[in-house]
Symmetry: C2
Subunit: 437 residues, 2 copies
């Protein structure tokens, strides 16, 4: 301890200290904040990642339940069917020709070769052709209505024509006629409920004459980013200001998880402003995600606003992403993530994205077991998510230190190495679990 | 041959026939169309799938080349960077605290425990704090500007506070200070060119203060569906009419392949109308896809319009999807697919989607080798794409006959079984190549 004379108070060592850190924090926070609010932080026995994830799942279960809406087919790509799609019609709608060729009566091909005058031409177009008289042929195009009486189509390449007469030398092995209803009958299930619609699914819905489909409504997620230091990217920063990466990154992550951004606002560290923003957000969203404002310091606007309302603000056994919060505001789930962009992105990926993806019919994140290229030492009592990338030899290596501030490191990663709470030292060559980003 | 007296002409067997099927087709088409157009169909030696795919790749190479555009970050999810993104600033922008705690001079912790008066409080906010005088401590929040003179931050949980004095009992193993530029330096490459942007990439771009990014322009594809028999889904059909499934299904397939639909129109079997539609489409699209109108019959509007202009209309060794066409119209590539929706979807998937996905930075379709659940017999001289699904035991089975009309069958599939041109009979239990849909 160095004592100097330039205005600093002499430092004294006190014989007695406050009993332990936690009480000092309470005391300090109390001193700074003028004693307001409830500071019963959950320090005894940190929750695990899985426990916190389960809490989030439980509190969002209702809002993620399957409300549905009718949308035009043109807007239905990648939406998830809310109910089975039944065909309103027989498909094909009418008996038609599978080939370009000649419509004939099969029994008239008993003796070959056989020749017939071509008495009609039937293109694929609206209208009902005249019945096929015995002893005659009708030139018919693919998809055209088959005339009554015809029981076979001889493909054009298996027939010869001269002077308006067609001659057939061999009997086709099949009729080349598509019977009405041979693809689907009216009332048949074309597609099941819970199916994420790709183009081939839209094709069958349209082919059945439907122009709309009932799908699961997309979840609307609100985003509130907090921090007096935040400014919009693209504006020149004063010292102390940082660009708000979370607004755009959370919006993109929500979109990628199959949900919609229902509301977005950046709020300063002001409880009144934050409460007002929350009210606006919950009015139009199924759930709201916040970033920042939940740590141990002062000026933690999310914690200060929501703890008096019964929010749980905890530290979970996760790194990065220890500080976490959950609350209900006007009946709407609020999920509070830490403010550092890497922590925010990983908190979203681990704790919320799986639920949203499930609603949207998206596959879960891919888990692979890979060999470590270098040894790592994990932080005790934390499940650690190391930013990593796949090497050409198939091993994985961390791309940056485990510290949570390296947003460029996260951008350079394609995977997370997941180290269990008790992992300790893990040597190069050992197999680890990785999550594909 | 049955002769009847009810008005049909007596059928006669001619002693001489036209030499072979092809000449008869030419003669017939000539008779029907009044002799117009060039009918040099490519029958001698059908092209393979790969040859035709290579032709399409060659003719679209220029339009798929990497034009770029600047887009706001909010619109950049899943876009592909056209150039490397360089950081315009150092990250972090300023030296800041990684923890909530107390900023101190490390050398003042040589003798422990050490106590310091807390002379300042530094939140994360704009502004430059006063330098830290020797012998003093500043309370500092995560992300706040580190005061000049401070060389370490002691986390709040490792300190005790009483009466405005903080006491430290152990020296932190690290500084918990993030130096300016420790994540990235101005000029560093944050992201490479050719990267498909996910939310974590947008996070680093925003964190560097950028609100726009230069990305590859999305390919604009036009869709012209042809057929006098086509009507819009949702309208009541007359006999002979079928719902236009291709318009919506191709639009969705193009979107799913990472491109935009630049133009869409349904055209009747009329050369004048089709030419006019083509002119409108090529004015706003990089390439145009057509469905229908390229078969062997009469009223084949795509063939009839484009063959005089030098189009190639061929049958390739593919099933479904034998009839194919390629043309250039006003310098724009035109790719003609057959009209049956299953053939259209599969033609797009095999011949065009891979090129579009590559431009859009999307992964190629997954190829897996799977065991056949039942035996199949392929069509000789055709590469066959059987609609199939994965069974719970991991084998694959066809979901419907190989015929090209079963649009409900395609919808029920999740894979294609690819059978080589020479496959013949393939027994249950053998391993086949499958393409994931």
């Amino acid at each position: 301890m160095v004592a100097t004379g330039d205005g600093a108070h002499a430092a004294h060592s006190h014989g007695t200290h406050a009993a332990h850190g936690r009480d000092s924090q309470h005391e300090w926070a109390s001193v700074l904040s003028g004693g307001r609010g409830n500071h019963a932080h959950e320090h005894a026995g940190r929750e695990t990642v899985d426990e916190h994830a389960a809490r989030i799942r439980a509190m969002t279960e209702t809002v993620l339940a399957m409300a549905s809406e009718l949308v035009p087919l043109a807007d239905a790509l990648y939406r998830v069917t809310a109910e089975a799609v039944l065909s309103p019609v027989d498909l094909p709608l009418f008996r038609n020709s599978q080939m370009d060729g000649f419509a004939l009566r099969r029994e008239e091909l008993a003796v070959l070769p056989a020749s017939f005058p071509i008495v009609a031409e039937i293109p694929a177009q609206p209208g009902i052709p005249a019945p096929l008289a015995p002893g005659t042929a009708a030139r018919i195009m693919t998809g055209a209505v088959a005339p009554d009486g015809a029981t076979v189509v001889v493909p054009v390449e298996n027939a010869t024509v001269e002077d308006g007469v067609v001659t057939v030398e061999s009997v086709p092995s099949e009729s080349y006629l598509r019977e009405r209803g041979s693809d689907a009958r009216a009332g048949d299930e074309l597609l099941p409920a819970g199916l994420r619609l790709a183009s081939r699914h839209l094709a069958v819905i349209a082919a059945a004459g439907l122009d709309e489909v009932t799908v699961r409504r997309r979840v609307r997620v609100g985003i509130l980013t907090t921090g007096a230091e935040l400014i919009e990217p693209g504006t020149p920063p004063a010292t102390g200001q940082v660009f708000d990466a979370n607004a755009v990154a959370l919006a993109a992550a929500i979109d990628a998880a199959g949900a919609d951004v229902g509301y977005r606002e950046r709020v300063a560290d002001d409880v009144v402003a934050f409460s007002a923003a929350l009210e606006r957000a919950v009015a139009v969203c199924d759930l709201v995600v916040t970033s920042g404002g939940i740590s141990e310091g002062a000026y933690e606007v999310v914690r200060e606003t929501l703890e008096p309302l019964g929010a749980r603000v905890v530290h979970i056994q996760m790194q990065p992403g220890g500080p976490q919060a959950t609350a209900v505001f006007d009946g709407t789930p609020i999920i509070g993530f830490p403010g550092n962009p890497v922590s925010t992105q990983l908190s979203f990926e681990i704790l919320l994205a799986p639920l949203l993806r499930s609603v949207a019919g998206l596959p879960a994140a891919v888990v692979e077991r890979r060999e470590l290229a270098v040894s790592v030492t994990s932080v005790p009592n934390r499940r650690q998510y190391l930013r990593a990338r796949l090497r050409p030899d198939g091993t994985v290596e961390p791309v940056s230190g485990p510290g949570s501030h390296l947003v460029a490191g996260l951008a350079a990663s394609d995977r997370l190495i997941v180290l269990a709470e008790s992992a300790g030292f893990v040597a190069a060559g050992e197999i680890v679990e990785t999550l594909l980003l």
